[in-house]
């Protein structure tokens, strides 16, 4: 970091895009470690209850998981493209991409809703009598499944809300070709949500 940059920063102390991005990344690390703690718990229990985990994971529908993976990957694509569009000056294209991202986020949540309600229908939910009859390893598996995908879904919802704000900010011109850091930071958040799912998918749906 050289002196000229610092001097420039001081002249516009209320507008430091690089600083904003550093702050966003640092925040993403806390999210990463937050999920990391749960991945650590997962790792320990998978180590302890290997066979039970493999057995319990058969209850999950790989197809739904796969669809949701593709939905999130595609939403990441549209998110990234919306920034490029904005920076190239095509505001309407950018808005379209943001809208698509919001659409995919909703699709993910709807999918998740059906998946969870199917589980609940089978009596597999925390504290249910059905669950308590299972071996301990499977109880823990479902405990982790609900908490980890639940917290991930919560992050999708937060991301969704942010994206709705971004849609209106871009529309009103508050976020524009020159000042796009807010959209970029929202994008960073959205991609992180995607990355978490990239790991959740094989760990819960694909283990055998």
């Amino acid at each position: 970091m050289n002196q000229t940059v610092d001097a420039a920063v001081h002249e516009h102390v209320h507008r430091d895009d690089v600083g904003a991005k550093i702050g966003m990344w640092l925040f993403l690390f806390t999210e990463l470690i937050l999920f990391g703690g749960m991945f650590l718990v997962y790792a320990v229990y998978r180590f302890t209850y290997r066979d039970f985990f493999a057995l319990a994971s058969k209850e999950l529908d790989v197809f739904i998981g796969l669809i949701n993976t593709l939905v999130l990957l595609t939403s990441s694509l549209t998110m990234a493209m919306s920034i490029t569009a904005l920076r190239r000056g095509s505001k309407n294209l950018s808005l379209t991409f943001i809208f698509l991202t919001i659409f995919f986020a909703l699709l993910f949540l709807v999918n998740k809703y059906f998946e969870w309600s199917a589980k609940f229908h089978h009596g597999l939910f925390p504290g249910s009598n059905e669950l308590l009859t299972l071996p301990r390893g499977e109880i823990v598996y479902f405990g982790l499944y609900y908490v980890m995908t639940g917290l991930h879904a919560l992050h999708v919802i937060i991301g969704l809300i942010i994206l709705v704000f971004m849609f209106f900010y871009v529309k009103s011109g508050k976020v524009n070709q020159d000042y796009y850091i807010m959209l970029e930071n929202s994008g960073l958040y959205w991609h992180l949500v995607d990355i978490i799912w990239i790991f959740l998918f094989p760990l819960f749906y694909l283990i055998h």
Binding site: D6, G19, L26, P126, V140
Partner: protein, 553 residues
């Protein structure tokens, strides 16, 4: 850099700018404070709220010691005692020591010391204070709920924390919110240090307090989320009966302990690192010479942050870990002692050939070194596996961490308070009274905690409401010590509060410091600097004192 005006009569202001306490107001009355994004005002807000919580924590500590003055019931029931030591721990750790230095003095002085107008994200800074207050109230609200506050100890160990009928969830959620407050502070400081250093202030021209906050910031960001998620999981477990840690549902209490300490051990370094930074600021000023081994102190801060994150399982040597984990964590624990030792040696060497004056802040700094050294050495004893087995979970540990946390960080906070008080409030306190308070604090502290080392080695377990008659004498001395200590606290704070209203006006540079905060008026103006300074010299360049005397001779 502007010339340093030592002991000039004025407060350094040229009269064109109002100080931050009287700067143009957007809101009226208290709202001018609680909605202010000025880093200095937020620092003061933190100071007030932190000291309020500290007072509550002290009262709980006092009651605990009173109960323990003799075996059997003295003033309270066992259940009350268990709840009080839990609250004492939660308050002192999450509401006093962790925010104590970074959030109060870091907020106030970091931007000034690196030559910036404010932190990188002023609004986030305000949010973090709000989270702090909200978290504090959530944690304490259980005092007024049926069932009473949690009785789990501040560690919330599984499975007791999912079995007890007391209000554990508020404490957990409170700690979770406080964790985020701490994270936001760390995030803000790291970005501030990366982006807002004044022109010419390279990394190695930064004051050491800034270095220690940088190291602390990384620990705050990379370790705090772990405890956040862990406590959240316990809360979810209590709410919904999800099987995660509870052994009855297949959980493993040990994995909880791992996760808890992955944060809570580094948290000790979140507490002590800024205090080390403060000591590195205080000693050069009152020894009137440059700090010895600047780079080694700066690097050792980073090394402590790094190694400190790798030693958590030394809190778990008796839980039955694998032998590999035992020797690995023991060895890593010993390694973290090295950078700490380097700091102590460099501080002592800074006194050599200085021109020392024992102002109150300096006394606190010297007491810090003494207490921290004892705390560090007794820490080594716990790193040694065979010995740890014996003294783990005894009052030896209680004494050890109070020597580090209170004798170290606590005295560091008091030192910082006396060092920067004139700059923050533009008033000077009575130095003689401050020194008397220091004597009470120092003697009371030793009397309060040293006997616990002995009792602990003799086999006095911790978190005991009642004890065997053979430990009576040590507990008795300790309780008497607590009275002396509290007397010292009362003298000290009375002195400072009186100074707020009646103290003489402070000059810009009462101690003869050379870091940037001493170049601006006391109290500082709204955006700190009329013109952002250009830094050329090293942070502790006292050569002009050498020259000054040469001219005289």
């Amino acid at each position: 850099m502007t010339a340093i005006n030592v002991h000039t009569g004025d407060n350094g202001s040229n009269g064109n700018h109002l100080d931050y306490l009287h700067s143009p107001k957007k809101y009226k009355g208290i709202f001018n404070w609680i909605f202010s994004t000025d880093h200095k005002k937020i620092g003061i807000l933190y100071l007030i709220s932190m000291l309020t919580f500290f007072a509550v924590g002290v009262v709980f500590g006092f009651l605990m010691r009173l109960e323990l003055i003799s075996p059997g019931k003295t003033i309270m029931e066992p259940q009350t005692y268990n709840q009080i030591f839990t609250l004492h721990g939660v308050i002192m750790i999450f509401l006093f020591i962790i925010p104590g230095l970074p959030a109060v003095f870091g907020n106030f002085f970091l931007p000034i010391m690196i030559g910036a107008k404010d932190v990188a994200f002023p609004r986030l800074n305000l949010l973090s204070w709000w989270l702090f207050v909200i978290g504090g109230f959530v944690a304490l609200i259980s005092l007024f709920l049926p069932g009473g506050p949690a009785d789990t100890g501040w560690t919330f160990y599984i499975p007791y924390s999912v079995r007890t009928s007391t209000n554990v969830i508020p404490a957990l959620i409170g700690a979770f919110i406080l964790g985020f407050s701490s994270i936001l502070t760390g995030l803000n400081f790291i970005t501030t240090i990366h982006r807002l250093r004044a022109p010419g202030m390279s990394w190695f021209k930064m004051p050491l307090f800034a270095w220690s906050l940088y190291a602390t910031g990384w620990v705050q960001i990379l370790a705090t989320p772990i405890v956040g998620i862990t406590l959240l999981l316990v809360a979810i477990e209590r709410w919904f009966g999800v099987g995660i840690f509870d052994p009855a549902l297949g959980g493993d209490p040990i994995v909880y302990q791992h996760l808890f300490w992955i944060y809570s051990h580094p948290a000790v370094y979140i507490m002590i690192l800024p205090a080390m930074g403060v000591i590195s600021e205080i000693i050069p000023v009152y020894a009137r010479r440059t700090i010895f081994g600047y780079k080694f102190i700066a690097y050792s801060s980073m090394a402590i942050a790094l190694f400190g994150s790798l030693v958590w399982a030394h809190h778990m040597f008796t839980v039955g870990m694998s032998n590999t984990a035992m020797w690995l964590f023991s060895l890593l624990t010993f390694l973290v002692a090295i950078p700490s030792a380097i700091k102590v040696f460099n501080w002592v060497a800074t006194l050599y050939k200085g021109s020392i004056v024992l102002e109150p802040a300096m006394l606190f700094a010297l007491a810090f070194i003494f207490n921290f050294t004892i705390g560090g050495f007794t820490g080594l004893m716990q790193g040694a596996l065979a010995l740890n087995i014996h003294i783990h979970d005894t009052s030896f540990i209680v004494a050890h961490f109070h020597y580090v946390m209170f004798g170290g960080t606590g005295f560091g906070i008091f030192g910082a308070l006396h060092h920067w008080f004139p700059k923050m409030f533009g008033r000077m306190y009575n130095k003689k009274v401050a020194k008397i308070a220091w004597v009470f604090l120092f003697i009371g502290f030793q009397l309060l905690y040293f006997p616990l080392f002995i009792a602990g080695y003799l086999g006095m377990p911790r978190r005991y409401y009642d004890y065997l008659p053979e430990f009576h004498i040590w507990h008795f001395i300790s309780t008497v010590g607590s009275w002396i200590l509290i007397t010292g606290l009362i003298i000290m704070f009375t002195n400072l509060i009186i100074a707020l209203r009646k103290g003489e006006k402070a000059v810009a540079n009462p101690w003869g410091g050379v870091t940037l905060e001493w170049t601006i008026p006391s109290p500082p103006i709204h955006e700190n600097f009329e013109k952002i300074p250009v830094v050329e010299k090293d942070p502790y360049d006292y050569t002009h004192y050498e020259e000054l005397e040469e001219v005289k001779n």
